[in-house]
Symmetry: C2
Subunit: 321 residues, 2 copies
DNA sequence: TTGTAAGCGTTATCAC
DNA sequence: GTGATAACGCTTACAA
C-alpha cells in the first residue's frame, strides 16, 4: 500500500508537506504542490480511510438502518437521502441486521437514520447520550441529539377511515400491523378515534404484520364471516395486496363485496386490479428531509421535529370509478 | 470517548493487558480478565473501528455496489448476501453512486460485490491489480482477484424465444436493455441466435433501457404498426410492465393481440393481469453464492467462476392458461 | 515555505 | 502473566 510516506520519500520532502499539498493548503508553493500531486498520481496513491477517520474523528459517512432490504418503498426513500447527502460532502451506506448496530458506537459513521424496529428506544437513547447524532423515522424520542421526521399517520388514517365511512359503509374491518410498529400503532389509534364518532359502525380489528401473508390470513377470516358488503382498512398496502390474493380465489369481488383501502401507495397498488385506494406521501422527500435534519444536528444547529404530510389516493377498490 | 487506555488506568494494568483481555487471549489470568471486562462494561467501552481497521488492515466489512436502490429484486439478492456474510463474521454495507467507489481503494471494505454499470472494467481491473478482491455480477472480467457469478442469460433468452416460437408466433419484437448492460447484451445475442434458426420469422429489435418508460415507448411503436397478433420479448420484466400500461390504454389485449414474455420474474409480474410469462432465477441464491465466492477470494482460496441457472415461468400473457 | 513531532485507538512483539 | 513500546497512515500545532 502506498502512503504519504512513500510520496514524501520520492519527492524528497517531509510527510507533512505531502499532507498539506494533498489537502490543498496554501502553505505550500504551487511548484512543490504540483510536483507532489504528480508523484501521488504516478504512484496511484489513495488515502487510507481508517487513518483519516482515526485522526479527524469523523468519517463523512451516514448510515441508514432498515429492518430488511426488501421494503417496497425503500428505493425512493434512500434515493432522497443519497441525493441530499452527496450534495453535502457526505456518503451514504445502508445497513440491516443487529450486527450492524455497532457501526454507530464504533464511530464508523458520523450519524444514523433509523427506520428499523430492531433498535430499541433504550439503545438509541444510550447512543445519543454518548454524543451520537440520530434521526428517527419510526418512533418518538426526545433527546437533544435525536431528531424526528415522522409520517402524519393520524391524518392518513383519518382520511382513509372517513373515505369509506362517507361511502356509507357501516361494516368495517381494520387489519393492523405488528405490535412493535410505531406507524401501525398511530394509524390504529386514529382509526379508532374516527370510527368512535359514528355510533352505528361495526368495526372489527384483525391482527397483521405488514406483510402479504397476514393480509391473506385476515381476508380468510373476513370471507368466512361474510354476510354483507364490508370495508377493509389495511394499515399498509402490502397487507391489502394479500387481501386481494385471497379474495381473488373466492366468489367475492374487490370493489363490489369487499371494499378496501391501504396505506403507503406502493408501486404495486397501482397494478392490482381494481386499483387500490391508499394513502400517499413522498418517500423521496421523507428521505431528503431526514438527511437534512441529520446534517444540521451534526453541525450543531438547532432543529425542530418534522412531519411528512399525506394525501388520499382514490381507487376502484372502494367502488370509486 | 472511552478507550482501552481509560480502562487500563482504572484497572491499574497496562493497555496491552487490557487488549489481551478484551480479545480473550489465554495469556491473561481469568481473574484479571474478568476484572477488566467488568470495568469495560462499566465504562461503556466500545472499540474504535477506525483504529482496529488501521492496525489490522482489515475491516470485516463487505460492500455491495448497486446502480440505484430501487431495483425490484435487490431485496432478495441483498438478503442472500447478508445471510451468508453474517454467518461468517462479516458485515454488509450497501453503496450506490460514483462517490462511494472510494470505499474500495481506501480500504474501508475488505471486498466488493459489483452489480453496477457505473463501474468501468478498467477501474475494477485497477483495483484488482492493487490486491482488492471483487466479485462481479454484471460482466466478464478475467483477473486472479476477480470472480464472476453470472446469470445464465443465454439459456434464459433461449427459453423465452423458444416458448413464443413454439406457440407459432412468426411476428416478433425484442425490446432490448441499455447499451452498456451486460445482461441485456447476452440476452439479445441469444435471442438473435435462436430466431436465426427459423427462416420465416420476422423479428424487429426495439431499443430500451430496462425501465417502464422504455417499455411504454416500445409498445406505442408496436401498436402503431399493428396488423396481426405479435409476440414481444422484453429483456426484463420492468419494460414488460411498461408494455402492459400502454396496451391497456389501447383497443388491444395482452395474451390475445399482443403476447409478451419478460425476464427476471419480479414480484409485479405475478400481479399484472394477465400474469406475465417470464424467466425466473433465485436472487437469494445469486447473492449468497456471490458472498461465498468473495470470502473464499479473500481467504486466498482458489475459486471457479459460477453460473446461476434459470427456469421458464409460463403465463397467460402468451395465451397460456 | 517546509520539517519535526505528537497523537488518534488499536494490535502485537518483545522483554521481564 | 504482564508491561513497555513500536507501528498502522494520517493531521496539525509548533519550530525552524
Amino acid at each position: 500500500m502506498v502512503s504519504i510516506k512513500d510520496i514524501a520519500k520520492k519527492a524528497g520532502v517531509s510527510i507533512s508537506t505531502v499532507s498539506y499539498a494533498l489537502n490543498g493548503s496554501p502553505k505550500v508553493t504551487d511548484e512543490t504542490c504540483a510536483r507532489i500531486l504528480a508523484i501521488a498520481k504516478e504512484l496511484n496513491y489513495t488515502p487510507n480511510a481508517a487513518a483519516r477517520t482515526l485522526k479527524k474523528r469523523e468519517s463523512k459517512i451516514i448510515g441508514v438502518f432498515l429492518t430488511d432490504f426488501s421494503g417496497p418503498f425503500y428505493g425512493h426513500l434512500l434515493q432522497g437521502i443519497k441525493e441530499y447527502l452527496n450534495g453535502h460532502d457526505y456518503e451514504l451506506i445502508v445497513c440491516s441486521g443487529s450486527q450492524s448496530h455497532r457501526f454507530l458506537p464504533e464511530r464508523m459513521i458520523d450519524g444514523a437514520i433509523i427506520l428499523d424496529a430492531a433498535f430499541t428506544d433504550e439503545e438509541l437513547l444510550q447512543h445519543a447520550d454518548r454524543g451520537h447524532k440520530i434521526v428517527v423515522l419510526d418512533r418518538e424520542l426526545i433527546h437533544p441529539n435525536i431528531n424526528q421526521v415522522l409520517l402524519d399517520n393520524k391524518a392518513g388514517a383519518n382520511l382513509a377511515a372517513d373515505y369509506v365511512l362517507e361511502k356509507g359503509h357501516r361494516k368495517l374491518y381494520v387489519v393492523a400491523g405488528p405490535q412493535d410498529s410505531y406507524d401501525s400503532d398511530k394509524r390504529l389509534h386514529a382509526v379508532r378515534q374516527t370510527v368512535g364518532r359514528y355510533k352505528d359502525v361495526d368495526c372489527t380489528e384483525l391482527p397483521g404484520s405488514f406483510d402479504k401473508e397476514s393480509g391473506e390470513k385476515a381476508a380468510r377470516r373476513i370471507l368466512e364471516a361474510y354476510k354483507e358488503p364490508a370495508a377493509v382498512l389495511c394499515l399498509n398496502d402490502e397487507m391489502a395486496v394479500g387481501v386481494y390474493n385471497t379474495v381473488a380465489e373466492s366468489e367475492y369481488r374487490i370493489g363490489e363485496h369487499i371494499h378496501i383501502i391501504g396505506f403507503d401507495n406502493i408501486e404495486l397498488s397501482a397494478y392490482v386490479s381494481p386499483r387500490l385506494a391508499t394513502i400517499d406521501y413522498s418517500k423521496h422527500k421523507w428521505g431528503a428531509l431526514a438527511a437534512e435534519q441529520l446534517l444540521k444536528l451534526i453541525a450543531g444547529e438547532k432543529v425542530e421535529h418534522e412531519r411528512i404530510y399525506v394525501t388520499l389516493v382514490k381507487g376502484e377498490s372502494v367502488g370509486d370509478v
